[in-house]
Subunit: 208 residues, 2 copies
């Protein structure tokens, strides 16, 4: 399975993918790491792992679709099969989703459908939930609405602030994302009903 990883930040989830590949837990290859931010720490992690990088600065494009077109070209040129949004802070358009139907995966720091969008951990703390977590899901046209592949939970503890909860969730993300990608690599993940993402599409994981 050839991965393209889209990043904007320090790239700890990219690192988790690279580590899982290195440890033989994820049967995949990262063909390219694309960042929309020139100085993103994720780029250093990619280079350290010998993975090709590309900076596509969104400010240089007239709109989201033009930006996505450039990203899609770069991904296709490198034979990418599955696109991973790993801390990628841009909304993707139908240009990317149409080019990689049901092949764009995101990790979100909440138990979706609760707390979609930005600052999910703060939303959870403000609401006062006792259990938080993270979700790996296929990306559809909505904000964190796509079919769920995997979820993991963490407790919310008395006295937690946003930083503490974010760190606790992130640790789970680092386990969950490579695990979900390995299910994809093994061909165990199907979306029902098949075809373009339906409103009620659900993921089935073949158990082995």
């Amino acid at each position: 399975m050839v991965l393209g990883v889209l990043v904007s930040g320090s790239g700890t989830n990219l690192q988790a993918i690279l580590d899982a590949i290195g440890a033989g837990r994820l049967d995949a290859r990262v063909a390219v790491v694309v960042s929309n931010v020139a100085g993103a720490g994720a780029l250093d992690r990619a280079r350290a792992a010998g993975v090709g990088t590309l900076v596509v600065e969104h400010a240089r494009f007239p709109d989201r679709r033009a930006f996505d077109t450039a990203v899609v070209e770069a991904l296709r040129a490198r034979g990418v099969e599955v696109v991973v949004l790993a801390g990628f802070m841009r909304i993707v358009t139908d240009v990317l989703l149409g080019a990689f139907p049901m092949k764009v995966v995101n990790v979100h720091p909440a138990l979706l459908p609760a707390f979609p969008g930005v600052h999910a951990q703060k939303q959870a703390l403000d609401y006062g939930v006792r259990v938080a977590g993270c979700t790996v899901h296929f990306v559809d046209g909505g904000t964190d609405t796509g079919p769920i592949i995997a979820q993991e939970t963490v407790p919310v503890l008395e006295g937690d602030d946003e930083k503490a909860l974010t760190a606790r969730i992130l640790e789970k993300e680092h386990n969950l994302l490579p695990r979900a990608l390995q299910w994809l690599a093994e061909g165990r993940v199907t979306v029902e009903p098949p075809g373009p993402l339906a409103a009620r599409a659900r993921v089935r994981i073949e158990t082995r």
Copy 2:
């Protein structure tokens, strides 16, 4: 802590409360079980435990507030301090909530704020979440929107139907509800900010 338990159905959560009291895990007394359904199985469970019962049929009242007024009178007459909605299939009004401010507790078969309202387990299955659960919370004027006291999770397994998931969650409810009530009995549960339930009110549990 003197409890009034409101029921409509078979009363397995009432049984969990009675069993926890019997086993010394819940330092409380059930003063009365009120059912809006004459033949509810929960009434038999109450009688078997020597607990007083009362049927208040909602069809005999002109509206919800009149019904709640009768229920409040019955609860007050028996010295009830905390009201537990245990499978009580009626929407409560400000009459009950005003008479027992921050003292009405509900158990809901979902990880709120996800999947409020009826058929929560089916909502979760239809959405395709990988983790489900239950929530014990204070009741406010909304539908399952009140401050969360406790939550517990269960996995959603491939092949689960509504019945299987409901049973798995219910088992957790039977643990969670008496445990949350015991926190109340120990005076460990506070709502912040204090006073009438605020939109952003959160529960603090004093750890011991």
